[in-house]
Structure formats: structure tokens, C-alpha cells
Amino acid sequence: MVPTSYYMVLAGILFTIGVIGVLVKRNPIVIFMCIELMLNAANLTFVALGKHFGQVNGQMYVIFALAVAAAEVSVGLGIIVAIFRSKETINIDEVNLMKF
């Protein structure tokens, strides 16, 4: 029997790796991948805690998080394609139109 806290620590490690990737990377597609990693870590805690307390609610939240993740990825990649078409680059250091 695996303790639930092991799953929580694993999800924390995956989430931290995702945060570091978002902070470090300059390619917005890889940043999106790191955001997916963080969403997966959150889903893992939902499922683990649902199992711990013997409830189905955790898995319900995971289903809705999956739908939101799919919507977010489709819109985000559409934005990236639009930016690449107008500026010929997607390095986020050079795409600072909304910064000032």
C-alpha cells in the first residue's frame, strides 16, 4: 500500500519542474508543455486525494481540468501561430508588444 503523501510529494516535484521550465525557457511552445506538466501534477493530487478519502469528486475535477487544458492548448497554439506569422519569431524576449 503506497501512502498518499508519496503521491503528493511526486506531484510537488513535477509541479516544481514545470515552474522552473516556465521561468527558464524562451520558447513559448516549451513553456506550454511545462504548463501541461503543472496541470498534470495538480490532476495527480486530485486523484490521489480522492482515493485517500474514498470519494469520486477528485476524478470529476480531473475531467473538467482536462477539458480546460484542451481548450487552453488550442487557443494558445493559435496565438503562437498568429504571432509567428506577424513577427517571424516567437522568442518571448523579442515579443514584448504588451509590455509598455
Partner: protein
């Protein structure tokens, strides 16, 4: 002698963490995407160990199938697979982020939120399609209305993606 489920968990956890690190470390976005597929598959296997079979199947279908195909499609479309396409600048930022990440995970691991009361309950059919369906579509439970709202969310996402990516509407 640790039990078989503990050994399975540690093997899956090691694969998940290593492939997640490869996502961040790799310079080539295609390799990052393929490492992310491995992470998703190991997380799906972890869902199976947590008796969430339906969520595991949905994880493989939606994440490892649909979302990663979308990622790879955009990488190929924009021709970003060359390592020089987006050069990584800055030496200080990765070090600071790594140090802060280690501090963060240490704080999370020692926090009292991690230690949960009691032991996990033994439930046999918590994650089957039957249980999920009964809970999701039950009028007495609060999940039916958000489920319907999700359809509007997906519709808005479809329209938004078309508006963003299309040159002229």
C-alpha cells in the same frame, strides 16, 4: 522487503521525474515533446495504481494523443525543431530558478499538509466508467451543470483558435 505496489510506484515516479527533467533540459522542442509523452504515459500508469482507470484512459487519449499531436504539428509547422531557432539566453536565470525550485520542493515536502490523516480507503470500483458516469450525470450531484457548461467552453475555444490562426475571416 517493500511491497510490490511500492516498488511499482517508485519505478513509475523515477521515470516521470526523469522525463519531466528532460522536457526542461532538452534544447530541441521535438525531443521535449516526446519526453512529455513519456511523462503523460507514466502519470496514466500512476492513475491506474490509484484505481482511476477511466481517468488513465482519458489521459492517454486526450493528452498523449490529441494535445501532443497538436504540439508536434505546430513545432513542425513553424519549423522550430532546429536548436538555433530560439536561442536560450541568460546564465543567471536558470540558476536562480533551480535554487528557488529546490527551496520550494523542500518546503512542500516538510509542510504538515503532506502528512494526511488516516490510511487510504479500500474501494474497488471508484474509477470505473460506470461509477464516473453515475456521478457525472446524476441530477442530485453538482456535476451535471458544469459538464454542460464545458461544451460552451470548448465551442469558444474552437472559435478562438480559428480566429487566431486564420489570416482573413
Amino acid at each position: 522487503m517493500p511491497s510490490a505496489s511500492l516498488i511499482t510506484f517508485f519505478i513509475l515516479a523515477a521515470i516521470a521525474v526523469i522525463s519531466a527533467l528532460l522536457v526542461v533540459v532538452n534544447v530541441n522542442p521535438v525531443r521535449s515533446a516526446l519526453s512529455l509523452v513519456v511523462t503523460f504515459l507514466t502519470v496514466a500508469a500512476l492513475y491506474i495504481t490509484l484505481e482511476a482507470q477511466f481517468i488513465a484512459a482519458v489521459q492517454i487519449i486526450v493528452y498523449a494523443g490529441a494535445i501532443m499531436v497538436l504540439f508536434l504539428f505546430v513545432i513542425m509547422l513553424l519549423n522550430l525543431s532546429a536548436p538555433t531557432a530560439v536561442r536560450e539566453t541568460g546564465k543567471l536565470q536558470p540558476r536562480v530558478a533551480t535554487v528557488l525550485g529546490v527551496v520550494f520542493i523542500t518546503l512542500l515536502s516538510v509542510s504538515p499538509l503532506i502528512t494526511l490523516p488516516g490510511t487510504p480507503r479500500q474501494m474497488t470500483d471508484i474509477g470505473t466508467v460506470r461509477t464516473i458516469g453515475l456521478y457525472l450525470y446524476s441530477p442530485q450531484l453538482p456535476w451535471l451543470f458544469p459538464f454542460e457548461i464545458t461544451s460552451i467552453l470548448l465551442l469558444v475555444a474552437v472559435i478562438g483558435a480559428i480566429v487566431m490562426a486564420k489570416r482573413r475571416i
